[in-house]
């Protein structure tokens, strides 16, 4: 039995359907992420799991028990809030002790559990500080410790890393993964940052307009987006209109207007004549000076429109003869000063026959 089961949950605010018939089941010990743009319904869903909001239809079951009549304070579910929501009038230790006090834990046990929790988040000497005296990352760790100290069945994390700068965020991501592994607590994480979701999660539900667009492991979400929204939302991707010429068991043969034939991996439920788009990731596209050097099946000539140098890699934007633009990623792995293709250079772009995805309209 799944730890948390969301069954056909719908929540409307007036005419607006924030969560639309969503069903998800989350296993114990999982790091599960709800990913989507703002307004996609992930926060509403999180509030319903926590008990701050109730579904209009459907059920939320924890350990098989319907949570409908259980108020937030009675649910064995804790939340790490986006703003941390640390109590400003309590010390760090008192903040962490709060859920234990509410649960009626004995003072002796509270002090030992708080000490343990402070050690876990490497804040052993900060127990007597007030939240205002901590840095953003430290506050964040206090919030994690407070959420975990009473060993909830489920920890909800509402964009907890959103307020941190990029470097600190990466550190906290690693810390979060370790914390989750050590404690074995089930995490439901919500974020709009796709790289964060990919880095942290066991499974991701990509949400849009109140619906789950795709629910899968990070590598499958990235590598095999189910539709155009997921492809577009997760990572960078180039998209070209295409029509299926041939749906063989091993591959698809597509026709891209003004370009010609493209081979792409086969996909279920695609048949000859289907229209849609060919989506291809920049890192799968190779860029070279001359078409003759290329031995890959899909290769075309184009012209460099511009490039984006970001240190480790350079992204080139290449215009194809049909006017479509395709991005190609080139690692700056050569020693010394990187040599670039310049804007206006004629180049060849190519990709493997098993790269790219055809997405039906």
């Amino acid at each position: 039995m799944a730890l948390l089961e969301i069954r056909n949950v719908t929540r409307c605010f007036g005419d607006f359907t924030a969560v639309d018939n969503v069903s998800i089941s989350i296993e114990a010990g999982e790091f599960f992420t709800l990913l989507g743009p703002s307004g996609c319904g992930k926060t509403t869903l999180l509030r319903m799991i926590a008990g701050f909001d109730l579904p209009d239809a459907g059920q939320i079951l924890l350990d098989g028990k319907d949570m409908f009549g259980t108020p937030p304070e009675k649910r064995p579910i804790h939340t790490v809030f986006q703003s941390y929501a640390l109590f400003p009038h309590m010390t760090v230790a008192d903040n962490i002790a709060f859920p234990l006090k509410m649960a009626g834990t004995t003072p002796d046990e509270i002090s030992s559990r708080v000490r343990e929790a402070l050690d876990d988040v490497r804040l052993a000497n900060f127990g007597n500080r007030f939240p205002q005296e901590l840095s953003g990352g430290q506050k964040q760790r206090v919030a994690f410790a407070r959420g975990l100290v009473n060993r909830p069945r489920l920890l909800l994390l509402d964009e907890p890393l959103g307020a941190l700068d990029a470097k600190l965020r990466e550190e906290m991501q690693i810390e979060l993964i370790n914390l989750q592994k050590e404690r074995g607590v089930t995490f439901v994480f919500i974020t709009h940052a796709q790289n964060e979701a990919l880095a942290l999660s066991h499974r991701i539900a990509v949400m849009n307009q109140g619906k789950v667009e795709q629910l899968d492991e990070p590598s499958r979400i990235y590598g095999f987006p189910r539709n155009r929204f997921v492809a577009d939302f997760i990572g960078k991707i180039s998209i070209m209109n295409a029509q299926v010429l041939e749906a063989a068991p091993a591959h698809l043969k597509l026709s891209v207007a003004g370009l010609g034939e493209v081979t792409s991996p086969t996909k279920e439920n695609v048949k000859m004549g289907d229209t849609g788009v060919l989506a291809i990731r920049p890192e799968q596209v190779r860029i070279s000076h001359h078409a003759e050097e290329v031995e890959l099946k899909n290769h075309f000539i184009g012209k460099v429109q511009g490039f984006l140098y970001v240190g480790d890699v350079t992204t080139y934007i290449v215009e194809l003869p049909n006017g479509a633009r395709i991005e190609a990623l080139l690692p700056n792995s050569a020693p010394g000063r990187a040599k670039f293709f310049e804007a206006g250079d004629p180049v060849a772009v190519s990709w493997r026959h098993d790269a790219g995805t055809f997405l039906n309209d």
Binding site: E73, H78, S83, A85, H89, F98, M102, Q132, R146, G147
Partner: protein, 303 residues
């Protein structure tokens, strides 16, 4: 560059805050000193003050400086009693104001934003009419022939209790004090409660706190600065208030304020009136000092 800016800033700061500071200093410190000096002198024959140096040819009368008024103050238990009673009335008014104002302030703070200003306006609206007129209105409301009095006595009568007179009593004084000072408690409380982050209550609930625990462990401790400033704004003016006991109180309801007023306007004993004022100021300073010290552990470090 930055240093120069800082210096210019400092000068600008003093230019802006200097005049009001000077104003407060001059008009608080100077009167206090005058009052202290007055309390050390002898009353004049026909009120006012006796000259410090005996005029030429004076046969009798008292001149110079003296501690007589202070001796007088401490020699009669009556004054201590009036002080004590005033403090009791002030404390009771403060407590009643707090109990009445807190739910109201909480209600306003948690209302929808667009209604809050209107509700605050309603709280301060009584200030639009004259204070004395409002106190006289209470005279009518509490008077023996009022609907309110009849109703109270009818209810008491039903339980076999003898009719009571509401007006000219300590009860009436307390009602008047609370009525006049309630907004002074509501406003600082509201200002404080309105700033509370609602996420804190969500967090408390999420971590297992029921409604009472959320109030007692989060809202109340965070509101203490508002409670203290509201209490000071009620307690101190009530201590010195003479109009309310004058109008609504009975003969036994004399408070410090009445005593001081009588010394200046009735008995015309300025030195003793000044002594009483000095004692009141000292008492208020002592109490606010104590309150500030007591409030210290709850003080929240600013960001």
């Amino acid at each position: 560059m930055i240093k120069g800016d800082n210096k210019a800033n400092r000068i600008a700061k003093w230019l802006v805050s200097g005049p009001p500071l000077l104003f407060l200093l001059v008009f608080f410190v100077a009167p206090s000193l005058i009052m202290l000096f007055t309390s050390l002198r002898f009353p004049g024959e026909f009120g006012g003050l006796a000259p410090i140096a005996a005029p030429a040819g004076a046969v009798h009368g008292e001149y110079g400086l003296t501690l007589e008024t202070y001796q007088f103050f401490f020699s009669d238990i009556l004054y201590a009693e009036i002080f004590l009673k005033s403090f009791a009335v002030a404390a009771a008014s403060t407590l009643i104001c707090l109990i009445m104002a807190y739910p109201l302030a909480l209600l306003i703070a948690r209302s929808e934003k667009r209604f809050r200003n209107l509700m605050v306006l309603l709280v301060v609206l009584p200030f639009a009419s004259n204070f004395l007129i409002r106190i006289y209105a209470w005279m009518i409301i509490l008077g023996p022939e009022s609907v309110f009095s009849h109703f109270i006595n009818a209810v008491l009568g039903a339980f076999g209790v003898a009719p009571v007179t509401l007006l000219f009593s300590s009860f009436a004084v307390l009602v008047g004090m609370v009525y006049v000072h309630l907004p002074f408690m509501v406003l600082p409380l509201y200002t404080n409660l309105e700033k509370h982050d609602p996420a804190l209550l969500d967090a408390a609930q999420d971590l297992g706190a029921n409604a009472w625990q959320r109030f007692w462990r989060v809202t109340w401790p965070l509101s203490l600065p508002g409670v203290f400033s509201g209490s000071a704004l009620v307690f101190i003016p009530v201590l010195g208030m003479f109009a309310v006991p004058d109008i609504l109180g009975g003969t036994g309801d004399i408070l410090i304020g009445n005593l001081i007023k009588d010394q200046f306007l009735g008995t015309r004993d300025w030195p003793f009136g000044s002594t009483l004022s000095i004692m009141l100021t000292l008492a208020v300073l002592a109490i606010t000092g104590l309150a500030a010290w007591l409030a210290r552990p709850a003080a929240i470090p600013e960001k």
